[in-house]
Amino acid sequence: MPTPSQKLPRTVLFVQRELAASFRARWFLVYSIAFLVSGLLLAAFGAGDVAIHGYRGFARAFAGLVHLALLFVPLMALFPATAAIAEERESGALEYLLAQPITFGEAFVGKWGGVSVAVFLALTIGFGAAGTVAVMRGVPVALLVALYGFVVLLALAFVSVGLLISTLVTSRARATTLGVLTWLILVALGSLGILVAFVRWGISENLLVLWSFANPVEAFRLGIVGILDADLSLLGPVGAQVMDRFGPVGTPALAAVTLVVWIVVPGLLGWLRFRRPA
């Protein structure tokens, strides 16, 4: 414990606590190791003989990392975030925590920060290792850095979404269920929904683009497409439309802004819900 002069801001104490809790959780280790191993395997064996804008031999490795991120990152962020508040509310720990000399805002920001740092570290380790191998296999560093940036934004967006869910329910089981449902809707069914809407109902192109950017996972995918500048294997049904409209600079920029909105808005809503006393 500190002397008075060594006191840390209370928010930082919460960040440290959430960080420690995340690293103690088995799921976190499982996901982190799975992400690390999958990333390494994809980077090592995913290189193919496909050329994109002069780069050779990296498309499959890069696409593998993108799809790995699409699948894993939302889950890695959602699980700790949905548990962060609901679990402690369920056990009574939250009331005890909030009975301490802190503000609700400090507690919420501390929890958001703690989960974010934990996920960030896990991603950085996994991505760092896989990225190193990918670079050795010919993937340009600039592309990996851009992908890593989008991965972090995607993770933070899902941390905010997860924390919002966590403030809305009173048990961890419900929070986890809602988290998985969110993942299913946004990740697994997002592209399928767009495809069905386009093919079956023939929705307008404007609505299609709006729908795509409304989903953080699709925004992430479009951002990557923009960086790659038209890798058809990654474009998906909307990619070409978006690239036509916003171009190779506008598309990733818009995608990044969308993800930032997905970080801020659910985060704010979660904070508003959290600070409202029961």
């Binding site: 414990m1 500190p2 006191k7 402690e88 005890y96 301490q100």
Partner: protein, 307 residues
């Protein structure tokens, strides 16, 4: 230390607290009593700034609504059930010590004084500690560096008799300058800790006084159980019936009860002795806190150990 003016808390149209006015001076030991749903925990939560309320509530010089963090810095809280915490005892002590701004050695001294040594238990995960140890941990953290106000919400409700005894003993040793507000359903806890009783009912404060005044208010009596030799039992009963109520006989008929005022049992024993009636065994039975509360709340008052 605590000042409440017109504190009202409604859940929908139901007022759990209905315009509570209250003052608790520094150093007072106050019990917050009431039947289930009377508003005790709700008042505690208002004091902790955990729920919204109407009216004014101050802890020390701090307005709970406007300065919740500063108000909470003046109090330590022990809930009914120790919450589940991840990590070891040492880690939990470290975190809450830092959060509350308490020096490490202060917390360790508190824990030692409560019989919970970090050297012995520090590496144990909190989940493996007994309920009594956890409540001691929370009490040590709540006491902190001479916290001015202790809020205790039925802190012994889930403890076994031994752990409850140890907890109450620790509580009695708390610095006299510390103000204590204890919500409890146990008469023994209240008598061990509090000098002033506040009774809440239907969101209002219906009694404010000492335990003695509470007994007087409800006209509560203690039942003195007597066992005398069978050949003089009828004589003893007839003799006592002229002066006391004899409402009960034990199930096996070997003992009978005499209603006496608090502290009045000795007169009965002297009376029997003068009459040459030997008493083989005697014991007393006090009314429960629930009985006392029901006595306060009933329109005509009155309660005894059999009610």
């Amino acid at each position: 230390m605590i000042e409440a003016r017109g504190v009202t808390k409604r859940f929908g149209s139901h007022a759990v607290l209905d315009g509570i006015d209250l003052q608790v001076k520094a150093g007072e030991r106050v019990a917050l009593l009431g039947l289930n749903g009377a508003g005790k925990t709700t008042l505690m939560r208002c004091l902790l700034g955990l729920i919204r309320y109407d009216g004014d509530l101050r802890i020390g010089e701090r307005d709970v609504r406007a300065e919740p963090r500063e108000a909470r810095a003046l109090l330590g809280y022990v809930p009914q059930r120790a919450p589940h915490f991840d990590g070891t005892l040492a880690e939990v002590v470290e975190f809450f010590g830092r959060l509350r701004g308490i020096e490490r050695h202060v917390v360790l001294e508190r824990l030692d004084s409560l019989g919970l040594s970090i050297a012995e238990h520090g590496s144990k995960t909190v989940a493996t500690l007994s309920g009594g140890m956890l409540q001691k941990l929370l009490l040590a953290l709540a006491l902190g560096d001479d916290t001015p106000l202790l809020l205790l919400d039925e802190p012994t409700a889930n403890l076994d008799p031994r752990a409850r005894h140890e907890f109450l003993r620790a509580l009695r040793r708390v610095d006299r300058r510390t103000t204590v507000l204890l919500a409890s359903h146990r008469l023994a806890d209240v008598q061990a800790v509090a000098e002033r009783m506040l009774v809440l009912h239907h969101g209002g404060l219906v009694f404010d006084g000492t335990m003695h005044e509470l007994w007087e208010r409800v006209g509560a009596t203690v039942t003195l159980w007597l066992r005398v030799p069978p050949n003089v039992r009828d004589e003893a009963r007839d003799r006592l019936r002229t002066r006391y109520q004899l409402p009960s006989t034990a199930a096996n008929g070997a003992a009978f009860g005499v209603c006496v005022v608090r502290g009045g049992g000795a007169d009965v024993l002297v009376d029997l002795r003068k009459a040459g009636i030997p008493v083989e065994e005697f014991w007393t039975e006090s009314p429960s806190l629930q009985d006392l509360l029901e006595g306060v709340l009933s329109p005509h008052g009155g309660v005894d150990a059999h009610s």
